[in-house]
Symmetry: C2
Amino acid sequence: MVEAKHQPQYELLYHPSIPGRAEFIRLMFEATGTSYTDVANENPPDDSGLHGYALVQDMSDPNSTGDDDGNPPVFAPPGLRIHGVGKGGRPLVIHQTPNILLYLGGSLKLAGSDEPEKYYVNQLALTALDLNNETHDTHHPVAVAKYYEEQKEEALKKATDFRENRLPKFFSYFERVLKHNQSAGKDKHLVGESLTYADLTLWQVIDGLKFAFPNEMRHRSSESPLLFDTFYPSLKEEAWLKKYLDSKRRKPYSMGVFRHYPELDRQ
Amino acid sequence: MVEAKHQPQYELLYHPSIPGRAEFIRLMFEATGTSYTDVANENPPDDSGLHGYALVQDMSDPNSTGDDDGNPPVFAPPGLRIHGVGKGGRPLVIHQTPNILLYLGGSLKLAGSDEPEKYYVNQLALTALDLNNETHDTHHPVAVAKYYEEQKEEALKKATDFRENRLPKFFSYFERVLKHNQSAGKDKHLVGESLTYADLTLWQVIDGLKFAFPNEMRHRSSESPLLFDTFYPSLKEEAWLKKYLDSKRRKPYSMGVFRHYPELDRQ
């Protein structure tokens, strides 16, 4: 069974062509050198003849009551299929970004070194994901299914509050977490001495914010020196991340969570 | 040490007088008959002379770099202090509602019967909490720190989209999860045969929505019969929940996440 041997254990199911909420998951695979299939982007055919994104849409079909492997329905992408660990040894399919990060945190050893750290890591990843969601709402404050242009007036107000009040609150918080962990983490890790999914999640949100709000981020960087002078750039210099960012697996920011609308940035 | 013996293992740290995001945590304690201190509501003095809410504010002090027990800073309430399980046997302090639910799910046996169910439960609780957050945003679509009256125009638009597009999407989803689990859960449990924190979290969000959007909820109830005719009322009839809802520990809805503004409801 050569084919089975080469089949990756993990299938990532998400919209193609954008980093989006799947990027936090990709970074966990990339950081640990773990093989995975990015189903919609790699577009592989399966036995039923379905290709790529059709499999993602099938997973989150709004009429589904679950799949043939006994997994409950999925609310929305991203989803993760892990072979061999579901009920009766069948594939397990899980969704919700923080839930997938939690699962992989355990499997890929990116969740700290003991039980307290496991919960510290999880709460920091959740807080960074809240910031990610608030970033999305700056361009979609009224209706997720409508165009930005239909809610631009409200977006201007929302983005102003986000830049003036929310960003400083989040950055101050993560700066203080780095300070708390300074002797173990050396300004490079939020929890303990090693890389965790809290680091990866926060790094990705900061990277996206630098794309979406370049003026605001330049202005804010001096307020949180550990975060912007050490944490963010030192992780970016890691060999695995440089290699990944240069690869085709890393999708450019475009019309996903992180969008660059100059009118929403600091003027 | 009579005092130590009677000291509850769990201290819930949250704003007083509202159910809010702490209600999901309270329901886990109440469902399992677990003793806990609701610090701000019970207002107990401690050794330093601080009382009630001051302890909550101290926990999430915007200048804190962590507490004396080695816990990192807390972004925002709710927080949970658990005695004896932190680093070196000291108290562990964790935050982020989904993180606290995850912790208690394991400790209080409300997280399903095996590993797959643990992640099913967690993803459903996270989805119900997303609905909770979207409910909050109907009255605060622009700025969390401003009054509703300052963003009423935007709230009318946001609430319309929420009622017309988001509520049906969430309710259809949970209805299909109940259908998926029908033979084990008997329309009473989302995952497996027993109560989990996914059930409790969804129940609380539906209960709050019935307060906030009574017209809309009456209109929607026939679309999801398992959810509204069996799941919600059968849990409400449980002896422990009836007793809790009649107690002073259950705070009335007022100016928290769930607010009843008639102009935001279906007309």
